[in-house]
């Protein structure tokens, strides 16, 4: 990793110096031990802040979209001929590039507005999982060494194996290396375990209907509609989310449980062909709602029904933007 981080910093410096990027979004060391946090680097000398390790959780594509949108909005008041282009550099692992591809396919910005610094990824640590693995103790300090996380905690020294505390989405990640990049830092990381990608979904599918429903409402009861999942999701970039729309109002804001269910149902459904399984929503959810159980189903259906995996290739069309007469199955159509 050290090697990658060095290269990453060099690359970032070079980009800023050569003015190939106006800003670079990457990760820096977090204020808490064993964390990293997104950072925005605009000066070459700041590049040394950059880190790349298993504690870099967020999907930075979200920030790419935010920055470009903010820039475009600021340019709206500028005469068209005076408008300036802003290029965003971004440190991107597999899932981040998938999100970037989705943004590009959905024309959120041009390919020339983003400079992708690809990095290999062997998964990130699920903070909540780590804490659970050490019995909920507060981590005072820690380090990663040879696949072992060694920690000083409020309850003494603890160790956890990295592979055990990786986020669920990372364990079965199919795309842990960048799909597209302008420059690749480091060589490709070894494959994770994608064969097990849908094991949980399959298991859930096999459960009786009422048991599934019970689980769904139980999970939804946890949700307090803080919208953190939406805020973290790179695919959630609507200028006005349907939740906030009036005329008509799609989702009630009262306390009826069905409103929460419907809210989540709709947001999840918006992910058809668009969820890259980056885990951002899960990691930010303060209530620990098992969103991935449902997102993975949407992913699985998209793959099985239309042969589409979100953001897996620049050439793909959004699956809901087409229809394949010859290959789409018609078995859901009712015939009396």
């Amino acid at each position: 990793m050290e090697n990658i981080e060095t290269k990453l910093r060099e690359e970032a410096k070079r980009l800023l110096l050569e003015k190939k990027a106006d800003v670079i979004i990457g990760y820096e060391k977090g204020t808490l031990p064993l964390t990293a946090t997104p950072c925005f680097i605009t000066a070459p000398e700041e590049a040394d802040k950059l880190v790349w390790n298993n504690f870099c959780t967020q999907n930075l594509a979200k920030y790419v979209h935010d920055l470009i949108t903010a820039h475009k909005n600021s340019q709206k008041r500028v005469k068209p001929e005076d408008r300036k282009k802003k290029v965003i550099g971004v440190v991107a692992r597999g899932c981040t590039t998938r999100s970037l591809i989705i943004h590009l396919q959905e024309r959120q910005y041009g390919r020339d507005e983003v400079y992708i610094i690809g990095v290999p990824c062997d998964g990130y640590v699920d903070g909540k999982g780590l804490k659970a693995a050490i019995g909920g103790a507060d981590i005072v300090d820690g380090s990663l060494d040879g696949g072992q996380i060694k920690m000083k905690t409020s309850e003494g020294d603890k160790t956890a194996a990295l592979k055990d505390v990786l986020a669920d989405c990372c364990k079965t990640c199919r795309f842990n290396n960048p799909i597209i990049s302008d420059v690749m830092v480091g060589s490709n990381a070894p494959a994770m375990n994608p064969d097990a990608e849908y094991d949980e979904v399959k298991e859930f599918e096999a459960k009786p209907l009422e048991e599934r429903w019970a689980y769904f409402i139980k999970e939804m009861e946890k949700c307090m509609r803080c919208n953190a999942c939406r805020q973290a999701c790179p695919s959630c970039y609507c200028p006005t989310c349907f939740v906030e729309q009036s005329q008509p109002q799609w989702v009630g804001i009262g306390e009826d449980p069905s409103d929460t269910q419907v809210f989540q149902l709709m947001r999840l459904y918006h992910m058809v062909g668009r969820c890259v399984d980056c885990g951002s929503c899960v990691s930010v959810c303060p209530m620990g709602v098992d969103l991935r159980k449902f997102l993975k189903k949407i992913d699985k259906d998209g793959c099985e029904m239309f042969g589409s995996r979100a953001g897996s290739s620049m050439e793909d069309m959004p699956p809901l933007g087409k229809y394949d007469e010859h290959h789409d199955k018609g078995d859901f159509v009712y015939n009396p």
Binding site: F242, W250, S258, V262, L265, M266, Y269
Partner: protein
């Protein structure tokens, strides 16, 4: 549906969101041909199945429909 039907056998409430050019016309034809069918369907006409926002189905279920039929 009305309360006075409540004491009779329960009949499901079904919402049908249908395309103007195909199904709606077919349903009209059923009428013209006097083909009888259960009276528990409420049709919402839209210009084309492509117009049907999937959330209509969700909202219909939330409003209390026992079944939602989408027909193109």
């Amino acid at each position: 549906m009305a309360e006075n039907l409540a004491n009779k056998e329960w009949v499901p409430k079904i919402v049908a969101v249908v395309c103007n050019w195909c199904t709606y016309a077919g349903a009209d034809l059923a009428g013209i041909s006097r083909i009888q069918y259960p009276p528990n369907v409420r049709i919402i006409r839209v210009p084309c199945t492509g117009r049907i926002n999937p959330f209509y189905i969700v909202k219909a279920l939330q409003t209390g429909a026992d079944g939602v039929l989408v027909s193109g």
